[in-house]
C-alpha cells in the first residue's frame, strides 16, 4: 500500500517538475512581453548622458581676507565716478545678484530696485544686468555679448592694456564696469554726491590703465582699504597694487558669496532620485527632448558655454554703431559674429533672476517658455505694455527689425515646439527645481558699512 502511494506521489511530483522546467534554458527562456518603457528616471538620466549634465564640484575657497576685501569693494560706491553706484546696485543680493529691472540704471540714478529712476540726461543701460549667481563656476564668456572671455587666455575690450595677474575671467570682467560711463564712471562734467568734480570722467575711454589707476588712487587714500589690501595681498607693496588686485578680490567675493549648487536638480544629478518632483522630472525630460532647450542650455551649468539667437524682442537704447538695435555677440572678439546672438546663460537658480533674456523682455519663466514654444508668433505679437512704462518707447517692434530678428533666429526654435499648457507648466516646474534654497535670501552678505563711509544700499526686490 505504502509502495503504491509512493509511486503515485512520485509520479505526480515528477510530472510537476517536468512541467515547471518545460525544457527552457536561461538563454532562451521566458515568455516575456516587450520591455516596458523606461522609467522617467531612466529616460532622464539617459538624457543627462547625451547632454553632458554631471554634478558640479566644489569651488576652491579663496583666502578670507581676499573675500572680505572683495565684499567691501562690491558694496562700496567709491568705485563709481560719482560715488553713487556700487557693483551691488545692479547686482544686489536682495535681488539675487541682479536687479529687478529689464534694463539697468547706472550712475546718476536714484532709488533702488523697481523704484530706481534715471538721472537727468541719463539712459538705461542697453542690457539686463545678469545675475552673479554661479558666475564663479568657470564661465568661458562674460557679458551678454561675450566681450570678456577666457578661452585659454583673457580677451577683453582693453586688449593689451589689460594688466597681468588676473586670476579668473570673473576678475577680468570686474575690471570693466568702472570704465563704463553709463554704468559707473559718469560723464564729463559730472560731480559726485558730495559735489566734488568726478575725476574719473574726464579720462579718455580708451585709456583703461588711467581709469583703473585713478580708481586705485581713491582706494589707497582710504585707510580702511589700505589695511584690507595689506591683509589680502601680504607682501605686495602699496606701490605695486593695481586695480587688478581689487578685481581679483571682487571676483573672489562673488565666487564665494554667489555660488549655489545645492538645488533639487543638483541632488537629483547626484543620484538622489527622490530630490525632484514628478512634475519637475517630466519638465526636465521635455527640456532635453521635445522643448529642445538643451540644444543651447547643455552641460553641467545648463548653459553659459555658447551663443544663440533666440528671437528675443529688441528693447533699449541699442549698442554701438547699430543703435538703437543691439546685435549682440561682439564682432571684435568672435570673428564671425552673427546678428542678434547673445550668450546663453546658465539656468541654475533662474527662478530667482527675473526678468529674463538679454534685455529683460519677459517678466516670468512661463512667458519665456511660451516664447520658445512659438517664437515667431510671440515676437510678432510682443506686448510692450508688459514693460516698465519708461521703456515702452524703446521697444523696437518695427517690421524690419522683427524680420531681421526672425531671419537670425536659430533654426532649432524657429518652428513651434507644440508644447501644451501642461507641458509648459512642467517645464517651469523643472526650472524652479534648479533653485538652491540657500540662494533665496542673500541679505546676510550685505555689510553694515564700507571703508569709504559711503552708505551701503542694495536694490530691494519689489
Amino acid at each position: 500500500m505504502i509502495r503504491q502511494r509512493c509511486r503515485v506521489l512520485a509520479a505526480g511530483l515528477l510530472g510537476v517538475t517536468l512541467l515547471s522546467g518545460c525544457g527552457s534554458t536561461m538563454t532562451d527562456g521566458g515568455t516575456t512581453q516587450p520591455p516596458p518603457p523606461l522609467t522617467l528616471d531612466d529616460q532622464l538620466r539617459a538624457q543627462f548622458g547625451i547632454w553632458g549634465v554631471v554634478p558640479i564640484g566644489a569651488v576652491t575657497q579663496p583666502n578670507a581676507a581676499l573675500v572680505e576685501l572683495g565684499r567691501s569693494l562690491f558694496f562700496d560706491k567709491v568705485l563709481s565716478g560719482n560715488r553713487d553706484v556700487a557693483c551691488a546696485t545692479c547686482h544686489s543680493p536682495l535681488s539675487h545678484g541682479a536687479d529687478v529691472l529689464s534694463l539697468s540704471i547706472g550712475t546718476g540714478g536714484t532709488g533702488d530696485g523697481a523704484a530706481r529712476t534715471l538721472g537727468a540726461g541719463r539712459q538705461f543701460t542697453p542690457r539686463n544686468a545678469p545675475s552673479l549667481i554661479n558666475t564663479g563656476l568657470g564661465s568661458f564668456y562674460i557679458f551678454w555679448d561675450g566681450r570678456v572671455s577666457d578661452l585659454g587666455g583673457f580677451r577683453t575690450p582693453a586688449g593689451a592694456a589689460l594688466p597681468g595677474g588676473l586670476t579668473s575671467v570673473l576678475a577680468a570682467q570686474a575690471m570693466f564696469p568702472v570704465t563704463n560711463r553709463n554704468e559707473m564712471r559718469g560723464e564729463v562734467g559730472d560731480h559726485d554726491v558730495f559735489g566734488n568734480p568726478n575725476e574719473l570722467a574726464p579720462i579718455d575711454s580708451a585709456q583703461y590703465g588711467a581709469i583703473w589707476g585713478a580708481v586705485m588712487q581713491r582706494l589707497v587714500a582710504i585707510n580702511g582699504y589700505v589695511a584690507k589690501f595689506n591683509a589680502a595681498f601680504p607682501g605686495v607693496p602699496a606701490s605695486s597694487l593695481g586695480f587688478q588686485h581689487a578685481a581679483n578680490a571682487i571676483a573672489a567675493f562673488e565666487q564665494t558669496a554667489f555660488t549655489f549648487t545645492s538645488s533639487p536638480f543638483d541632488h537629483y544629478v547626484a543620484h538622489d532620485d527622490r530630490a525632484m518632483t514628478t512634475e519637475a522630472k517630466q519638465g526636465a525630460l521635455l527640456f532635453f527632448t521635445k522643448a529642445r532647450c538643451s540644444s543651447c542650455h547643455f552641460g553641467p551649468l545648463l548653459g553659459g558655454q555658447s551663443f544663440a539667437s533666440a528671437g528675443v524682442p529688441q528693447l533699449g537704447p541699442g549698442v554701438g554703431k547699430d543703435a538703437p538695435l543691439d546685435l549682440g555677440q561682439d564682432p571684435q572678439f568672435q570673428g564671425q559674429a552673427q546678428r542678434f546672438f547673445f550668450r546663453v546663460p546658465s539656468l541654475r537658480n533662474v527662478e530667482l533672476t527675473a526678468p529674463y533674456m538679454h534685455d529683460g523682455a519677459f517678466a516670468t519663466l512661463e512667458a519665456v517658455v511660451r516664447h520658445y514654444n512659438k517664437v515667431e508668433e510671440t515676437l510678432r505679437n510682443y506686448d510692450a505694455s508688459q514693460l516698465d512704462p519708461r521703456l515702452r518707447a524703446q521697444y523696437r517692434g518695427d517690421p524690419a527689425t522683427i524680420e531681421a530678428i526672425l531671419a537670425a533666429t536659430s533654426p532649432i526654435i524657429r518652428q513651434p515646439l507644440g508644447l501644451s499648457d501642461t507641458e509648459i507648466h512642467q517645464l517651469v516646474a523643472f526650472l524652479q527645481s534648479l533653485t538652491d534654497p540657500a540662494a533665496r535670501d542673500l541679505s546676510s552678505m550685505i555689510p553694515a558699512s564700507v571703508p569709504s563711509g559711503l552708505p551701503v544700499t542694495a536694490a530691494i526686490s519689489p
Binding site: I2, R3, C6, L9, A10, L13, L14, V16, T17, L18, L19, S20, G21, C22, G23, S24, T25, M26, T27, D28, G29, G30, T31, T32, Q33, P35, P36, P37, T39, L40, D41, D42, R45, A46, F48, G49, I50, G52, V53, V54, P55, I56, G57, V59, T60, G136, L137, G138, F140, V269, A270, H271, D273, R274, T277, T278, Q282, G299, P300, L301
Partner: protein, 510 residues
Amino acid sequence: MPNPRTLSALGATLFALLGPPAARGQIIQIKTLPLAQGDQFGFFPSVNDAMGGVSIAVRDSLLDPFVNPAKGARVRALHLFGAPTFYSISRNSGGGQTLPVGGLASRGDLFGGAVVAFQQLDPSRREAQLFAPPGIDFVGVPPTASFPVPQQTRAQTNRYAFATLGRRVGNGFSFAGSVLYADLHRLDGVDQLYAGSQSIAQHGGDLDARFGVVRDWESGSSVEALLVHDRLAMTHDVTFAETFYDPNLRRIESRPRPERNLDRTNTWGLQLGWQRPVGDSGWRVGAFATSNLMSHPKLPNYQIVDVVRPVPWDPGHSAAYNIGMGVARHRGAATFALDVVYEPILSHTWGEAPADIETLAGSTILAGGKTAESHFTFSNAIARLGIAQDLVIDGVESPLHLQGGISAHAVRYWLRQDDHVLATSRRQEEHWTEWAPTWGASMRVAGVDVRYLGRVVHGTGRPGIIDGQIFEPLASSAGGPSILATPTGPLTLTPVSVTTHQLSISVPLP
C-alpha cells in the same frame, strides 16, 4: 550566443540567503534571475552529493548532522574530517577555495561537533574589465577612474564557524541545536551587480541557528523536525567613478562616489521529514515539507548593465514552501536514488516613498507609502537522480565506490509589477532550468575515508561586462545564495558554468 545587451532592461534587487544546507531545502532559494552564483557554500562533506545531491530517501552520514543537528545522534564515534573544496567559473571569471576542518563526537547521551572553515574568493571581475556604467558616466569621461581603487582585484577571505550539541533522550528520540556563523567579506557575484562601479567592499555576516528533533526506529524508519532561523546582514560599500564638472579647472573630471547598500533578510523555517525502508526489498522512501517565512527589511539597489537606476526596493517579504518525495534502492553493490521537489513561492517587494510623492495621475503617495510593488508567484521544481556502484579491487581492503548523478532545478514565475508613481502595471513570465551533473568516488584507505566530488552547473549566467567593445560574461552556480530581483525586460545572460571539486577526508577514530 544571445545578445547580452538584452539584459539592459533588468532592474534588479537581490538578496542572498546563506548556509550550506540551502540546497537541501531547509532554506528555500529564491531566484528571479538566472544569475550564476559561485559554489561558495557547498563545502561541507557529503556522502551523496556526487549522486546529484539526492537526500530525501537516503541518509548522508557526513552531511546530515549539519542539516539537522539532531541527526548527529547517529554518529556513534569520534571522527575528524577535512574537505578542501575548489570551484572555478568558466570564462576566467573567478572562483574560490575553502578548507573546512572539524569533527563530530559522541559521549554517553551527548553528541556534538564543531567545524571551522576558511575561504578565499577571487574577484568576479578581472582587473581590465569595466562595467557599462550608467549613461551619465560616459560623457567625456576617461574610461577608468583616475583615483585609487581599493581592493577590487584582491581575493577576499571569509570565515565560518559551526558548532552543534545534542542529546539522545531514549526511545530513539534525539534533539540538538546548532549555530553557524559566517563572517563574510565577499559573496560571489555581487560585484557583478553594480554597473559602473569601480569597487565593492562587502562585509557582514550570516547567522544560521537550528533546532532539530529526530526519532529513529530500529527498522530504519525515522521522522524529523527542524526549526531554522537565519539572519543575513551584509553591507556593500560601493565606489562608483563619478564624473563631475570641476569649476576650478573648468573641465570634466572623475572622482569616487561612495554608496552604501544594505542587504538584510531574516528567515524562519520549519521542515518536517519522514523516511523508511520498504520491507526488506531494498527500497527506501522519504518525504518532507518545508515552510519559510522571510522578511527583507532592506534589499540592495543593484544596478545591472545599462540600468541607470532601478526602482529602489526597500522592504519585502516572501513565503516559500516545498514538498518533496524521494525513493532509493540498495541492491547488492548498487544504489539508485531519486528526489522530486515542488516549490511554490510567493514574494512581494516594494519601494517606500521617503517623502510625499506626486503621481502622474495627480494623486499623492504619502511618505512611507508604496511607490512600486512587485508580486512574484513561483512554481519551481527540483529533480535529482543518482546512482552508485561498489567495485571490488583485488588487493584493496575496501571497494571503490563510484557515484554519478544529475540534478535539475526548474524555475518558473509570474511577475506583476505596479508602478504607482507612473500609474503603470505590467506582467511578465519567466522560466529557466539549471542543470548540474555530478560525479564522484570514494574509498577507504588505511582506515581513512577518502572521497572525491565533482559538480558542474549549467544553465545560469552573468550580466555582461564591457571588455573593450566585447561583452564578456562572468561567473557561476546553484545551491548558494538566493536571488530576488525585479526584471523589467527579457532575461538574457551570458552563459557560464561553475565547476566544483571537493576532496574530503574523514578519519573515524575508535
